[in-house]
Amino acid sequence: MTWIGKPKVDWSGQQRNPLGLTIRDYEGVMSTLCAGCGHDSVTAALVQAFWEMAIRPEQVIKLSGIGCSSKTTAYFLGGAHGFNSVHGRMPSIATGALAAHRDLIAVGISGDGDSLSIGMGQFAHAVRRNINLLYLIENNGVYGLTKGQFSASADSGSKSKHGVESRQQAIDAVATAITLGGSFAARSFSGDKKQLVPLIKAGLSHPGCAIIDVISPCVTFNDHEGSTKSYAFTRAHHEAVTEADLVEPAESIEADYDWGDAVNVTVHDGSTIRFRKLEPDYDWSSRAAALQYLEKHRQRGEVVTGLLYRDADQPDFHSIARTARQPLRDMDHDQLCPGSGALESLQQRLR
């Protein structure tokens, strides 16, 4: 059996969050990915973020498509309902589930193949609709499960394990999301948990579709010299332009970090996202500036990370649809059915 449960080890020293849950309560089954896979670090960051935010696992839905990345939804939050859909179609499942129950906390895990090739259409429209989803792309530039074909995010000039060079242009998920009118676009690196955990928290608190493109190297098929998605390359070339963190409503903003010239932005649920620009001139509220910055650094061969664009005032899916506050799936039949009298009078028009 390839479905491996993790032994639950309880020891008294485990730290508990305000719900009384330990970090182990946020884990899932054992990963079956290759040892050293970047995706496992992303999983760990997710576990950490959910635990720190003290979200009840049962409030969460975890959704994915097909591919190595999409397997990871099984590896965190065992207490949440999970949904491993078909290839490239995670966003439509998320849209439907959120339409049915607007208060679910939705996390979509996808990959570069799943979102930028077969699922490009659904990726684009989830962003455009601004559904309330943390949409995380574990981006390794390669098709792992089918053994090493280039994906659409493979940089032009990057070499495959067999020495073949990718000659087509790469699709940049962050730039694409910004162009599509996305309200939250960030990039991070699986090897930088310090940056990734706060970004995930910021994404979870964002009222809309939060895209986080995480460079997550494939140790088996794309971690060699000549690859631009390897650990070595990403470590050497990633440039953090902003830092972001989520401050829960309960916490004081003047926590014990040294945030220098941070900017605090209040989120609609009362929490605060704190940004700090590492580059003094960076403007994360401007689409044009973000795109220009991304392009300038791409030309230099640099991978820009951090929260690159955010607009929390953009109306989300449900505010556009004017959906009722009460989740639709919880409504009683008499709230939905007009009854026999209405049917009778409706039919007056049909005579």
Binding site: E58, I61, A74, A80, S92, R351
Partner: protein
Amino acid sequence: MTSPEANRVNDFVIKIATVNGTGSASANSLLMKSLFRMGIPVTGKNLFPSNIQGLPTWYEIRANRDGYNARTGRVDVMVAMNAQTYAKDLAEVSPGGYLIYDSTWPRARQLERDDVEVIDIPLAEMVNGQFSKPRVRILMKNIAYVGALCGLMEIDLGVVRGLIEETFSTKPGLIDSNMQAIELGFDHARRHFRCPLPVRAESMDASKGHVLIDGNQAAALGCLYAGATVGAWYPITPSTSLMDAFERLCGEFRRDPETGENRYCIVQAEDELAAAGMVIGAGWAGARAFTPTSGPGISLMSEFLGFAYYTEIPAVFFDIQRVGPSTGMPTRTQQCDLLAAAFASHGDTRHPLLLPADPAECFELSVAAFDLAERLQTPVLVLSDLDIGMNDWMVPELCWDDGYLPDRGKVLDAEALDKLDVFHRFADIDGDGIPWRTLPGSDRKGAYFVRGSGHNRYGGYTEDAEEYQDVVDRLMLKWQTARELVPAAKLCKADHHTDIGILAFGSSHGAVSEALDRLRESGIHADYLRLRAFPFGHEVQRFLDDHKTVFVVEQNRDAQMRSLLMLEADVEGRKLVSILHYNGLPIPSDAVTERIREHVRKEAAA
């Protein structure tokens, strides 16, 4: 063919040939509704092009005192308003019939027929004398032919006026202009022709307790009443009006008048793949969700249909069938998606189908579809077609039982979970092949993982041979359960014992019902079983066993229902005689009558 001595009162077909985009639809519906209000059973078939403006379009109204509603091969009165199709339209009139045309532009004499009476009315000339705006002239010319028909066929002017007054109750100016146009046509007809024609209307009492409604509107009502809250769709002819109607109804009944908040959520998806995904996502999360589509959409949704079958998620799909293959003829009708729908997707998959025969059943079976989908935890497809979906049918008034409660199927809530030691998503606790499910956002103990990959009865991933087979075998047991739950076929027995059976479904029902009467008149008695669902119940097997010859009437080339019967029932192939009609027009009753008659004659001779 109509013999001169036949009684042609309240038994006729009027066909109106116009150009689309000229506003003839309102004139035609005025005409049809007038007949309906005179108490005469009536149906209208819109034979329209896949186009917005400028192409030929026809509207066929059949009035029949016995309530027959199928097309026939007959045209008693042709209103030929389109010069482009005049020759063809004239050729189509039955001997002894009438052709009305706009003689503002006289037709060539060689186009005349000895056996057809041509009634020339200078409609444009008359209307242009009365109205000055170009657009109004075009619209009123149509209203004027309705007036002429009223004069010629004794259609009650008071009824017509009543309808016009209702339609334009907020715009009194239009009442007068429409009535003027009616009177222009009426007076001209009365002055110049022998009125009434033998083909004429007479008030009767047969439409009482009935309404005129199209299937898409009725299905939308079904969705509203069944408590569907999520609708996702991609626009496609001929299904679009279903979601349009649902949205309109929701705006009326599901919007909070104070806050403007909606108790529904409609998503216009980026394509049919996404529409299917949204409906499945919503069904998984516990809402009643549906998508209306047509053949090309079913092709695109197939991957998700297979997924939802294997992962056991309720969802309702409406397939308003149109002519295939490929884009086919989007505005013409067929019953051509049976096989594609029944086995949609790769691997061993099968889906329950519901087969409404008219708009009343669209209402009834769409409610049933939601109940079945949740009871069986599987996608259910309602197979309507363009003829039912987009044409106005006279059906008994729709009724609603206020005691109805939706069947949400086997769902464990937090309280129920609390009493369990452990929850297994795909375990068959009750022996009916239907497992228990939980809804996301309810309880940690009920958390499970949906996957389209191999899974075992506990919900875990598996590549184990036995564990895999255990689940797909249970799905087959569930299919057997479905057989008991789907709406049963309806049997109509002949007065005499007979070896001949007729099997039909959906929009062929009207043609078959009429054919049965014509056949009986010529001494051929047949039992008739109308299928309403797939999988077939035991009554279908019994019917096949009980008859030597079973005619299977369907509107596709490849005898798809016959194939389904061969696959699913125990029946010898040669017993099943196909009667196929697939040119895109609704099946006419004559076709059924003649082909059965011919077959019986040949058999007798052999």
